[in-house]
């Protein structure tokens, strides 16, 4: 199934886009999607970010359901 991944701040800059669609199986763990993204975009490995699934901050243990929108949210430090 098709899932949407949104990127923000430095994550979007390193990936080079603000969102993308990827294929994943229902029941996959969020961590597995992250591993896939790290393989496609190894530079993500240098960044710290939190992940949300359907607009709720969750750990990598969360599993995908029927509808999935994932976001990678880095902290911002500027003021």
């Amino acid at each position: 199934m098709n899932i949407k991944v949104q990127f923000f701040g430095m994550v979007a800059e390193l990936v080079g886009m603000e969102s993308l669609q990827i294929e994943a199986f229902n029941g996959s763990l969020l961590r597995e999607v992250e591993t896939h993204l790290l393989q496609e975009y190894p530079s993500l490995g240098s960044l710290t970010y939190s992940m949300s699934l359907n607009k709720q901050i969750v750990s990598g243990d969360a599993s995908l359901g029927d509808y999935n929108e994932i976001a990678l949210l880095p902290p911002f430090s500027g003021g």
Binding site: T48, K55, G79
Partner: protein, 264 residues
């Protein structure tokens, strides 16, 4: 007093009682830079009774592109001094406390404990962790704002026992994740938008109307005007110091590996 705040009096949600709450409130704004300037202006205009302004920096020419309280004649002056001089003219009814120093684990508890609401307008990640911990231990709401180039984040921590910064970002970021505004640049109007949103949260907390941005992170992108809101909850496991003493004994700079942030 009535005439100055007449437009607040006319609002059912604020009114005379709400305005009295604003006039009785003590708010501490930490950082008088891009975010701090608009926060301070609106809180002063709104008639917040006591406003603390904490910043150890001096005004520089590069600040003027976004730090709208300052003008060319302020260059070289202490930010808190220049800011308070202008704010006092804007509203003589407000009492200002000038705190011309960097907040640290040594002084944070003492400074923060004198206020009802804290506004995080700093530009250093280790101070964000420090303020989150101090406000959690002291049970004081913390209105958070942060910016990166064209994007901003706003949230409210420790509001009615709600979650805090560590529930959103448990682990301090790598230096690559949080480059400094000095190095990567920042759109001048961005801190205006984000700072005004922080002032808006402060007023809701003080007066008690609407819905406070607690347990939610609002992200805004000035390039395409897109908003993205994510929810987050209190985490059971936390590496945070649990007492005032533990905070004093924590080296937040080392903890965040943020020595790089001090070199400006």
């Amino acid at each position: 007093m009535e005439e100055r705040y007449s437009r607040h009096y006319s609002l059912e949600e604020v009114g005379e009682i709400g305005q009295q709450k604003i006039g009785g409130a003590k708010v501490l704004v930490i950082g008088a830079g891009g975010l701090g300037c608009p926060v301070l202006q609106y809180l002063t205009s709104a008639g917040v009774g006591t406003i603390g302004v904490a910043d150890g920096d001096f005004v520089s020419l590069t600040n003027l592109q976004r730090q709208i309280l300052f003008d060319t004649t302020d260059i070289g002056e202490l930010k808190v001094k220049s800011a308070v001089a202008k704010l006092q003219r804007l509203n003589p009814e407000v009492t200002f406390n000038q705190i011309p120093k960097l907040i640290s684990s040594i002084n944070a508890v003492e400074i923060v404990s004198r206020y009802d609401v804290i506004v995080d307008c700093t530009d250093q990640i280790h101070i964000r962790y420090l303020l989150s911990d101090v406000c959690r231990v002291l049970l004081i709401p913390l209105v958070f704002g942060a910016i990166h180039k064209f994007e901003g984040q706003v949230s409210v921590f420790n509001y009615q026992e709600g979650p805090n910064y560590r529930d959103l970002f448990p682990n301090p970021p790598s230096p690559e994740s949080v480059p400094n505004c000095n190095d990567v640049g920042v759109l001048g109007v961005l801190p205006g938008i984000i700072g005004v949103a922080q002032a808006n949260e402060v007023l809701k907390i003080i007066v008690g109307y609407g819905e406070v941005l607690s347990g939610k992170l609002w992200m805004f992108n000035t390039k395409n005007n897109s908003s993205y809101v994510v929810s987050f909850t209190k985490s059971e496991k936390s590496a945070a110091p649990q007492t005032k003493e533990e905070i004093k004994n924590t080296n937040y700079i080392a903890y965040c590996n943020a020595e790089w942030a001090d070199i400006q």
